[in-house]
């Protein structure tokens, strides 16, 4: 941690918002990207990143200056994402189940998006395909993949962010990559058409 950051932290602890904004200016884009890769859409990523950053601000007095601020920040972002994903799972709506209304029952239908041209373009973008593949990974594996392969963090850093031993990080990376590879192989044609 630099002297500069230490000075900022002191000011933040006295409630200085400007100092906080200065401090996170280097990290918020990464935080946003982590959230985006974890959640898969920009809207949620924005909300969750902001929520996480507010949490960081509110609990800044709990931050121990001996550890790395970025690691601590990523941990809060990750935990907020985890909560959000948990919430999503609980709020899953069944498409088969009929909804009872005053006028009788009805069932849900999925909108037909195939004919939307911009969607088609978007769908064929490599990054979008990859993102969709990432979205299907289990949460724990997705976390390490995002941190390692997208954000380029070291095993040690990841271990600190998710508070798991390095051995666990290793095995999760291995498993995550394996799963991702399998999914992407099935969609190989989409990637190949773009890359080669």
């Amino acid at each position: 941690m630099s002297d500069n950051e230490a000075l900022l932290l002191k000011k933040i602890k006295n409630g200085d918002i400007a100092s906080f904004e200065l401090l996170i200016s280097n990290y918020q884009v990464y935080a946003y990207n982590v959230a985006y890769r974890m959640l898969g859409n920009e809207e949620d990523a924005k909300d969750i990143t902001q929520e996480a950053l507010i949490k960081v601000y509110k609990s800044i007095h709990k931050f121990k200056e001996t550890s790395s601020f970025s690691t601590w920040l990523y941990r809060i972002v990750m935990n907020t994402c985890k909560d959000e994903l948990k919430k999503r799972k609980e709020a899953t709506i069944s498409l088969d189940k009929e909804i009872q209304t005053d006028d009788g029952s009805m069932s849900m239908e999925i909108g037909d998006e195939r004919l939307n041209p911009s969607r088609i373009v978007e769908r064929n973008e490599v990054s979008h395909v990859v993102q969709e593949a990432i979205n299907t990974l289990p949460d724990a594996n997705r976390m390490v993949i995002v941190l390692r392969d997208i954000q380029g963090m070291s095993y040690e850093e990841i271990s600190q962010v998710i508070k798991e031993p390095i051995g666990t990080v290793k095995s999760r990376i291995n498993r995550g990559r394996g799963q991702l590879k399998k999914i992407l192989m099935e969609k190989k044609h989409l990637i190949l058409s773009e890359q080669y």
Binding site: Y32, K46, Q50, L53, Y57, E90, S127, Y155, I173
Partner: protein, 465 residues
């Protein structure tokens, strides 16, 4: 060939986490193993793919939005010390359970209090109501007094406040007397505004005569000075006294008091006594306790109360003097008014010929009579209360009167000791009352607690979500 081990190594290899020896070993293996070679290429490609993913720019307005939220958070942050207290207070499910149980218990107390299991609240309420009632009574009495003494005001009153309660139209030519009575709801107002007009149409000129409040009031004030009122001139005061005293011999003392009451011309209206356990280890030491309600002629009241001190130690004394002069006079005047009205009705009665009319007048007469009787009995009660003061004595027999005599001086230690014992005793008493209450309230508390608990758990779960 064991490739599983190498697969793990490949992941580490692409992440540059293998030392020189491990790396050489892996590379050597891959030269011969196409499977692992492919695997390496795939993982490497994947890593490139992921690593090459473009960084998403922050959405528009991200920082502004965050800034607003930060200011809000900053305002909240200032209250964190309150949160801290809350956090410590509310940490752990046990405390929450306790708090919720407390809430349920409180609710139960309220329910029981209302349903009358705890009578004190209701008593308080009824005491309030009676106070209001008394006040309103006085108000009516005031009104009446005004009406009775001032003639023009009586007229006003009759016109404004009161519907005509009796209209008697007499038609002598036709030989008909039509009598109409309008029952007024409030008897006081009814007597207040007794305004009846008797219209008697003469055969030729239709002469009208009326008897109204004005006349009655006048006669009233004339008569107001005779009979009973002469008996009770000056202030009319109901005196009561309430005493508690410790005595050394219940029977002897009560005999003594009875004799005194008899001498003064009073009587014993109520008495009751019982034995109580004085020393719980010695049945022979049981003592007598009881109370007596005595009626003493008012002129001896002070003398009697003064002499009671001779029999023992008076531990509690309260006396009350209730001046009812005004209320008494008002009621007396009311009775007078009703009597005049009764006389008038009898007059009408003599003129009535039709059976129907006779019945009507008869009914009104009996109503007026019962009203008069009612007021007279109230007056009689008051007279009784005024002439004979009421003294209630609670007497408790004690082992030695001197125990209750306070020493002139006490050192601090004794006082502290006494205070301590008193407090402990009070605590024990309170606990006892509470436990008794708790046990007796179980039939109510249990279902209330159950329902409350279920509701709380549901709310808590929802809140956690």
């Amino acid at each position: 060939m064991n490739c599983d081990r190498y697969e793990d190594q490949i992941h580490l290899y692409v992440d540059h986490r293998l030392d020189k020896k491990e790396k050489e070993e892996l590379l050597k293996h891959m030269e011969t193993c196409t499977h692992c070679q492919e695997m390496y290429e795939e993982i490497n490609a994947l890593k490139d793919l992921l690593g090459g993913m473009q960084m998403k720019e922050l959405p528009d307005g991200f920082e502004d939005e965050l800034h607003v939220k930060l200011i809000e958070a900053s305002a909240e942050k200032k209250e964190t010390w309150i949160d801290k207290i809350k956090e410590t207070l509310w940490s752990g499910p046990k405390v929450k359970m306790a708090v919720s149980f407390g809430g349920v218990a409180l609710a139960a107390v309220l329910v029981i209090g209302n349903s009358g299991l705890l009578p004190s609240i209701n008593q308080l309420q009824s005491a309030d109501e009676s106070a209001v009632y008394e006040a309103s009574e006085e108000f009516y009495a005031d009104d009446y007094n005004g009406a009775a003494t001032s003639e023009p005001m009586a007229m006003e009153m009759a016109k404004d406040a009161a519907p005509t309660i009796a209209t008697i139209t007499e038609n002598t030519r036709a030989g008909e007397v039509s009598v109409t009575f309008n029952e007024a709801v409030d008897p006081i107002i009814a007597t207040d505004s007794a305004n009846y007009t008797l219209k008697s149409s003469g055969a030729e000129n239709g002469e009208t005569f009326g008897v109204n409040e004005q006349e009655i009031s006048t006669t009233d004030s004339d008569q107001g000075t005779d009979s009973e009122e002469q008996k009770f001139t000056g202030r009319l005061i109901i005196k009561t006294a309430n005493l508690s005293m410790d005595i050394d011999d219940y029977d002897a003392t009560s005999t003594e008091i009875y004799r005194m009451v008899d001498d003064m011309g009073g009587y014993i209206s109520d008495t009751s006594s019982y034995y109580y356990i004085y020393d719980r280890y010695d049945d022979t030491k049981n003592k007598k306790s009881g109370y007596m309600t005595l009626r003493i002629p008012h002129q001896f009241f002070d003398q009697f109360v003064g002499r009671l001190g001779e029999f023992g130690n008076i531990t509690n004394y309260s006396s009350n003097a209730n001046d009812i002069t005004k209320r008494y006079r008002d009621t007396t005047a009311e009775v007078k008014n009703l009597e005049v009205r009764e006389a008038k009705l009898r007059e009408i009665m003599g003129k009535a010929e039709e059976i129907k009319d006779i019945i009507e007048v008869e009914r009104e007469l009996s109503r007026v009579r019962s009203e008069i009787n009612r007021f007279q009995s109230v007056l009689a009660d008051w007279e009784d209360l005024v002439t004979l003061s009421t003294v209630t004595i609670n007497m408790t027999e004690v082992e030695d009167l001197k125990i209750n005599v306070k020493p002139v001086d006490k050192d601090m230690l004794t006082k502290a000791k006494e205070g301590f014992i008193y407090t402990v005793n009070r605590m024990v008493d309170t606990m006892e009352v509470f436990i008794i209450w708790l046990v007796s309230a179980i039939p109510v508390l249990l279902p209330v607690g159950l329902v409350g608990g279920i509701v709380f758990r549901k709310l808590y779960k929802r809140w956690r979500k």
